[in-house]
């Protein structure tokens, strides 16, 4: 439940949710260009769920079964709120932010 473990959680949740968001036609059109191919959408969807699962695993490993699930759900809410804000006001930032989240997660993991 240390700040770095919450940061790790937020970063992984954000990356995962961003991929899930991009897997949807409407958002892919708005954020990148055109609808994603079926293969691409599927890859994004798998990546997204993998990110969310990784976030859950990270929460349980760093904060135990006691607080891990609570922290995981909280981080999903926080990350999703940021993502919706970006989709609506700064869609161009989403792809760089999702890529930036990965090294941030790695850095937080080293500290956690």
């Amino acid at each position: 439940m240390t700040p770095s473990s919450v940061a790790l959680n937020l970063a992984l949740s954000f990356a995962g949710l961003a991929a899930l968001c991009l897997a949807m036609d409407r958002h892919h059109r708005a954020i990148l260009s055109g609808a994603p191919s079926r293969l691409r959408a599927q890859a994004l969807r798998w990546t997204g769920w993998a990110g969310i699962l990784a976030s859950f695993a990270a929460a349980v490993v760093t904060s135990d079964w006691n607080f891990g699930p609570v922290q995981w759900l909280g981080s999903l809410t926080g990350a999703a709120l940021l993502l919706v804000g970006l989709v609506s006001y700064r869609p161009g930032w989403i792809r760089p932010a999702a890529f930036l989240a990965l090294p941030l997660a790695a850095a937080a993991a080293l500290l956690a």
Partner: protein, 506 residues
């Protein structure tokens, strides 16, 4: 079910949400603030400085004060200073039925503190579950509204069926109603696990008040035994009726500390001065979700251990975990921010839902709004902006009321309600969309004024940087909201009016 399941649920969601919305908004906002109750209390007593204290010495000072102040009380409670609460809190019960009395003692001297009289964060905390009414009435109202809110939450999941298709969507560039609906869905859905958890566990905390009959029947009215068997408190030892000389406190605490690794939290003395007096040493919660404090009870006269609080049975463990989840005492600073954010989102879900009701019923251009709509509009603005205005005024009153004022703590509460009432009445005299803007700007300026006034009236430098930052943040949110709202609650353009039916079903 004339119109099918989803329509029935939509009806239920609309009306369950509307009738409880105002109360639950107040409960959500004050509850969200309560995540920072100790920080608010610290800010509201700027005379106090945090510092290292020997907890045992503090407990002795508290007991010494109570010996003087309330020698005939049935129970004394001394809470030792914490890093975020640098006072000795003493509480006592004159009889088992009497209300609890309390005082705050200076850590160094053990005399009543010279810090200004204030209810601190406890004001918002108590308001959260009893609305500053007679305790039982307030709790019943909050509890009943929470139950209806749970109904509104679940029917809402059914009603807004596109929540997954629209999961990441907030269309602020379409019609006003679409914007409000998306805002309602986004804040509702993204924090849905929190909303369900907090509403359900909130009802659970009041569960024994709603349904006391199980305990009444099983324990023949002896509720105390229930809590003893549930490992919530050690058994009550009745007074012997004759005086007894108590052992010194420090060695008893030291023996308890040798058994428990958690920090000392509180020392309780039941039937002080009696031959059957009991000293209960209470420790902080061990790491875990459950709201459960280790406790060891001593016979105050012989010094023998009478009872160690046993491990909880599964049912008690589940119950105290629900309480723990609701109160989130376990949450460190980072996780606490997320809880706070979720609380704000819950408040926003309710607020946007209330506004949506009135926006969806906006009359055509030129037509006069009916009484129901005007009532809802008035209550909306009076609650959604009136309550924050009340809170900001409450903080300002803490800095501006004279420290020597009689009943100062009560006056702070009076300012809170007075400002809220004014803020609710004033907009009734103003044209509707403009009233939102004006009151929103007023609320924002009041929150901005808090750090300024505090800097002028106290000399704490940057000690409260986070509190000040939070005030500025709230001012920004309210100012931004006021700016947005004024553009979005006016009469709908004709094109948007046509799509209303479609939207109502989405």
């Amino acid at each position: 079910m004339r119109n099918g399941f989803r329509q029935s649920m939509a009806w239920l969601h609309t009306w369950a949400g509307l009738v409880t919305g105002w109360v639950m908004f107040a409960v959500f906002v004050s509850g969200t603030a309560t995540y920072y109750r100790t920080d608010i209390s610290l800010w509201m007593r700027p005379e106090l400085h945090a510092g290292a204290v020997d907890p045992v010495q503090a407990a002795e000072r508290g007991v010494a004060y109570l010996k003087e102040r309330a020698p005939k009380a049935v129970s004394w409670f001394v809470s030792v200073p914490q890093e975020d609460r640098p006072v000795i809190g003493v509480y006592w019960l004159d009889t088992l039925e009497s209300p609890i009395s309390q005082a705050m003692l200076d850590v160094e001297t053990g005399a009543p503190t010279t810090a200004r009289a204030t209810q601190g964060g406890d004001f918002l905390y108590r308001f959260h579950y009893q609305l500053q009414m007679m305790p039982l009435v307030g709790r019943w109202i909050v509890g009943l509204c929470a139950m209806v809110l749970l109904v509104a939450l679940i029917s809402g999941i059914v009603t807004h069926r596109r929540i997954f298709a629209d999961f990441f969507t907030f269309r602020r560039d379409r019609s006003a109603q679409r914007g409000w609906l998306d805002a309602h869905n986004v804040t509702g859905v993204l924090a849905l696990p929190f909303h369900l958890m907090i509403t359900y566990t909130g009802i659970v905390t009041l569960g024994f008040m709603f349904m006391p009959w199980g305990i009444t029947t099983a324990y023949k009215g002896d509720g105390m035994t229930f809590y003893v068997e549930g490992a919530q408190s050690p058994s009550w030892r009745p007074a012997a009726g004759r005086a007894g000389a108590a052992q010194p406190l420090a060695p008893l605490i030291a023996r308890a500390q040798a058994e428990v690794s958690e920090p000392l939290e509180m020392v309780i003395v039941h039937n002080p001065g009696d031959a059957n007096a009991t000293v209960v040493v209470v420790f902080e919660e061990p790491k875990g979700l459950a709201h459960h404090h280790p406790q060891i009870a001593f016979d105050a006269v012989s010094g023998a251990v009478v009872e160690r609080l046993p491990a909880m049975k599964p049912a008690a463990h589940v119950f105290t975990s629900f309480l723990g989840l609701h109160e989130a005492h376990f949450a460190g600073p980072a996780l606490r921010v997320l809880f706070f954010l979720c609380g704000l989102m819950g408040s926003a879900t309710i607020a946007t839902g209330l506004v949506l009701w009135s926006v969806a019923r906006q009359p055509k251009r030129g037509a006069a709004p009916g009484f129901g709509l005007r009532l809802v509009q008035g209550l909306n603005i009076g609650t959604i902006l009136g309550l924050p205005i009340g809170i900001a005024a409450f903080f300002l009153a803490n800095r501006l009321l004279p420290v020597a004022l009689d009943h100062r703590a009560t006056w702070e509460g009076a300012v809170f309600f007075g400002a809220w009432l004014l803020a609710a009445l004033l907009p009734l005299a103003r044209p509707h969309p403009r009233a939102w803007r004006e009151m929103g700007l007023l609320a924002a300026s009041l929150f901005l004024a808090v750090p300024v006034v505090s800097a002028i009236t106290t000399h704490r430098g940057f000690d409260f940087l986070w509190f000040d930052a939070a005030m500025v943040g709230l001012a920004a949110v309210l100012g931004f909201g006021a700016h947005k709202v004024s553009g979005y609650t006016g009469a709908r353009p004709a094109a948007a009016a046509q799509s209303q039916n479609k939207l109502a079903r989405a």
